[in-house]
Subunit: 676 residues, 2 copies
């Protein structure tokens, strides 16, 4: 029935002449069983996601984060969106409310992203109060749709004449708006079956299809986002025109005469498959890569896969922070050159790390290759996780790897604080909310031959294998603090299938047992170990990962990290905050870690600190005379040997930085040479 | 007579009610004898400049640069200003020329800065063709002045209603425009005695004085510049109201409610003497500091001097590149935090280094302290000198200390080249032109007790001591390639005075002789050696500076330079360009300088290379396997030991980079540890 409705909407939108040219695919799975990205019938997907509602996340780091997300973050953000007048932007038009337009040109998307977060949250649990707010917001949105299908609260009145002009598309975010509208609509549809916003989005897409395309007017995504949304609309409705429109946009219409630096910056407007490296605005590049991967998953166009693989190598070998954060530059919120990874001036926008997770999720679906899951886990636990405070109401936009505690005032923060409740450009807060709300959907995949487990946490999956056999998988673990994961496998009936257990790439030693016996074959970090057998209800898999703290170094081409080390433990990157250190080391400007390979760490789990974290302590030296008292330049060999004293440094997980009073912070710590 | 004229203009401008409140000082020196900044009668100046025309610069580095400046740079730039329609902006208004407005809101200043460069050039020599162009330009400018005195080609027509509103002053550059108008006018007046533009500028200043000030409407310099120009207008006209207006603007009118990050960025709008550090837009900070120093020189307000000293310490100890360049960030073209000095991403705008030279020149005048001359020389020979190509027609806006050869496309350069003939924001080209044209004015100062020599080059000064005794000083030297400077002193009659000879701070060993005998007392680098005696015509002073190449290191707080050295020789910073290196080292990504203290350098002067430069060669190692083939992160101690091979690197002076085909460039070179 839902498909018939989509069909009707398409006709209503006036695209009837096109219908005969399009092929259709009926989604067999009902809305409530569709995954974060729904790859049923995607011919080039090796893995299928499981619905968000199929996984229950229990006590632990993510349980706590998700509880705060639903109880604090999501409700407080819609309140702020309302208070800042962004919802009134819709009421100005639908209800004639006499208020000035508020926010940036893409202010509509804050409501859409919030709706997406709410939609994912409602896929996990009934949330009647949230649902009421969401239904109201949806009503406000769809009420401004014009009969043509055009839907945008900014390009109205005097600005209506500028709609979708080449120069408007460069900066106006109309397609970006549509993309987030569709993503919000899809998540809400998969939560509730309510198609109201989905239909509105499809109608706007139909409006585009009518007038724009290769043999019509040129279209440009000044901020990529709509590409993946259109593919998901295709997956949801079966209407191939949406996939084709995504392909056209990704193909880059060269009729538009654009400035070269804009082609770099927007990561659009030139054929995606001609890209040679990650460059320009990092969120744009990630969203474009998501869309390109989605397009590959449906079409198998090998030019895309080849390009995506090159870009991915560029990401992990040259342009990714140890946190999984990306985007080295404040200027244009952009990628830098290869190995340009400044610490204090890292931009590492929360949204970009989320974009990386989304892209790697798609690459994982296309390939089943564990290296993508490694990037997902790294970004998730660190660069994304840091994006919201422990109490769920303060957000990071950028995520530096070193900080004086409070930065100078900047456009994101009048008082230079890294965490704030509101940003006029409100991309990151609802973005992290949708990520946490959809997180259950990232734990498992199914494949033709069985099940993949990607992430570890106390949790329970209730789903089915490809052949329809019911499957329940229960994880019991203290992960990420403890490296032992007990997994109980319960097929509805004894079944032959492969249980693919991810062994994270970060571990140096791992063991895997099935029912108390070592698993056959190599348990190699950075792979999925394929456990192929007849599974019976109650079979026990036990994964043990070496959680010893690790000292990590960078390729010497990263100039800022020469002579420095970072500390990792399990999937977590650690850092120093000044307030945890002895007085003499609190400025962090004069500390050096005593050389060693991790043997010197003392671990202590502190249940009352920052939601419960493992802290690490390590011997160190600190200069008695501060470096800040010395000149900036000097002749080689002329520097005095400065006396040091012994001290001990306390490391906390990176994701909890800046949750207490402002304090200096540092991820990459100078390593003491062989001097005492 | 000139003063009477100024008096008359003031009355015409309608400021008659103020006249009785102002004190006047008659400039005794005729226009042709006024210096770059004219400190006659400035009560807090220890040093007085000499007129540009009093110093003839002969053969050598600066002789060649100045010849190209007058013959190529200055003429080609006015042609480009004309071609880009910036002069038509004036004709639109005065002649009703039917053309669209062109360029940024401050496009007027490009003409003014060019007029300043032309004016300084005309102080050194007769240039009839240039004069004709300048007179035409001046006519175009003054023709648009309104009867009120308002003069600006942008805020006209519909925009006239927005003149000097608080929000306009934040971004509109009206006062910045006036500042450059006045600087151009003063330079042209001192070249020719022509007051046409000077009077127009004074009339615009009078317009401001009428309506703006502490007890009138608030005034804000959104881009400082007008402060120093108003003080110079005061020095030129004797009208104290201009000094008071500068003081009012520097004092920061807190009635304006400004965003904190704008107060940081603009370096204005809060009392200058409350500033604690250099921050925000580096050119703004430098120009504000120039104005504040000028204000101190006239008033002796100790709050300013104390602040200026703090800011200066911040500059040289924490925020200055080894080149003398400043401004670490592309984002906002701004200073960074202390020790934030990235190399490839250094902004180091040419204008900022020029601003630093101008500020240090004022600090030198206030104190006679050689440390300011050291900064002037460092900036001049390196960060400023690099700003224009050897052929005089290509300019750098930013001046990185490391480069892949060609950067990605950016707003300054569509093809990513660092040198370009034109920038839509054309601040740097005429700025370096005015600097080279005014350079003779920076060689010497006079004081109550004698003469100071600041810079070394083949040259001749013909001027007079404070008591009026004529003095001729002739320098013969191969500086900056050779460290020996022969100075002939010729007073008009035997005279007792002190000859202050600067011993640059960069030298490690210097000797000084008078008439073949060692000078009495210590010849300490970073000071002026005071040679007090009775000087007779033909007395010979000989300064010998050790020109051995030096390996320089940075305070370890500069993260990017850990384990790296830079090469200096004399006042010049050196660098590597890939195209000079053996094939295996041409990418520069895998080179390491062999450890040593400079003993390993071979020197060779190459007269035909880049206008004639001394190149330096030094043993080095290069990795056989490129670092780029290795992963981004790894465990400490797990990296393979990579084989290296011996090679030799060739260094060229930094100021000639990017004058040949694009090639990787590097100032800070990794130093090989004790390996092989």
């Amino acid at each position: 029935m839902t498909c018939l409705l989509a069909f009707a909407v398409t006709i209503l939108a006036g695209a009837s002449t096109l219908i005969t040219q399009t092929t259709r695919r009926q989604p067999a799975t009902p809305w409530r069983d569709q995954a974060v990205i729904h790859l049923e019938g995607s011919p080039y997907a090796k893995l299928q996601g499981v619905p968000v509602r199929a996984v229950r996340i229990d006590d632990g780091l993510w349980g706590a984060r998700r509880k705060v997300n639903v109880e604090k973050s999501i409700p407080s953000t819609i309140k702020l969106i309302e208070e800042h007048g962004y919802l009134d932007n819709f009421r100005r038009l639908s209800k004639g409310k006499n208020v000035p337009k508020k926010g940036p040109v893409f202010a509509d998307t804050d409501t859409y992203k919030w709706l997406e977060a709410a939609g994912f949250a409602m896929q996990s649990q009934d949330l009647p109060a949230l649902k009421a707010l969401a239904e109201d917001a949806i009503s406000e949105v769809v009420a401004i749709q014009e009969s043509s299908g055009y839907l945008n609260a900014h390009f109205v009145g005097d600005l209506a004449s500028r709609r979708l002009l080449p120069e408007t598309m460069e900066y106006g975010h109309e397609l970006y708006n549509l993309g987030h509208l569709l993503q919000g609509a899809v998540a809400y549809y998969r939560a509730t079956g309510n198609r109201k916003m989905l239909d509105a989005g499809a109608k706007m897409a139909d409006y585009l299809i009518r007038d724009f395309g290769a043999d019509k007017k040129p279209l440009l995504a000044g901020h990529p986002e709509v590409e993946m949304a259109l593919v998901e609309l295709y997956r949801t409705t079966g209407d191939r025109r949406y996939l084709d429109l995504a392909g056209y946009i990704l193909g880059g219409d060269k009729r538009l005469d654009r400035r070269p630096e804009r082609v770099v910056y927007t990561f659009s407007g030139t054929p995606f498959f001609e890209r040679k490296q990650l460059e320009g605005h990092s969120v744009r590049a990630m969203y474009a890569s998501c869309g390109a991967t989605d397009y590959y998953l449906e079409t198998g166009d090998s030019r895309y896969l080849k390009t995506l693989e090159n870009l991915w190598q560029d990401l992990v070998n040259r342009k990714m922070y140890i946190t999984g954060g990306i985007g080295s530059r404040w200027e244009a919120e952009a990628f830098g050159q290869a190995y340009e990874l400044p610490n204090a001036r890292s931009y590492a926008e929360t949204c970009a790390a989320i974009g990386s997770m989304m892209w790697n999720w798609r690459m994982l679906a296309a390939t089943g290759d564990a290296r993508y899951a490694d990037v997902i886990e790294r970004a998730l636990y660190n660069a994304i996780n840091v994006g919201v405070s422990v109490d769920g109401v303060l957000y990071c936009y950028r995520n530096p790897l070193e900080s004086p505690g409070i930065d100078e005032p900047n456009w994101q923060s009048k008082d230079g604080r890294v965490r704030n409740s509101w940003y006029d450009v409100l991309c990151c807060p609802p973005n992290i909310q949708r990520t946490l709300a959809s997180l259950p959907g990232y734990f498992y995949s199914t494949s033709k031959d069985g099940v993949y487990v990607h992430l570890f946490h106390n949790s329970e999956l209730s789903w089915k294998l490809a052949d329809g056999t019911a499957i329940r998988i229960t994880q019991k673990t203290g992960y990420p603090w403890d490296g032992e994961v007990s997994i109980r496998v319960e097929p509805g009936k004894p079944a032959d299938f492969t249980f693919h257990v991810r062994v994270p790439g970060w571990t140096t030693r791992a063991t895997l047992e099935v029912n108390g016996k070592p698993a056959a074959g190599e348990v190699r970090p950075g792979t999925y170990v394929a456990l192929r057998r007849t599974w019976h209800s109650g079979d026990a898999v036990r994964l043990k990962l070496d959680m010893s703290p690790r000292l990590v170094v960078t390729n010497p081409r990263v100039a800022e990290n020469t002579g420095r080390v970072a500390v990792e433990r399990g999937p977590l990157v650690y850092c120093l905050e000044g307030l945890d250190q002895p007085r003499e080391a609190g400025s962090l400007s004069d500390v050096m870690l005593a050389a060693g390979k991790g043997a010197g760490f003392r671990e202590e789990f502190k249940p009352d600190l920052l939601g419960g974290v493992m802290v690490l302590r390590h011997p160190a030296f600190v200069y008695t005379n501060s470096l800040t008292s010395e000149p900036l330049y000097g002749l080689l060999g002329s520097q005095p040997r400065r006396p040091t004293q012994r001290t001990e440094l306390t490391f906390i997980p990176y994701y909890v930085v800046a949750n207490r009073e402002p304090s200096p912070m540092m991820v990459w710590i100078p390593l003491a040479q062989s001097t005492r």
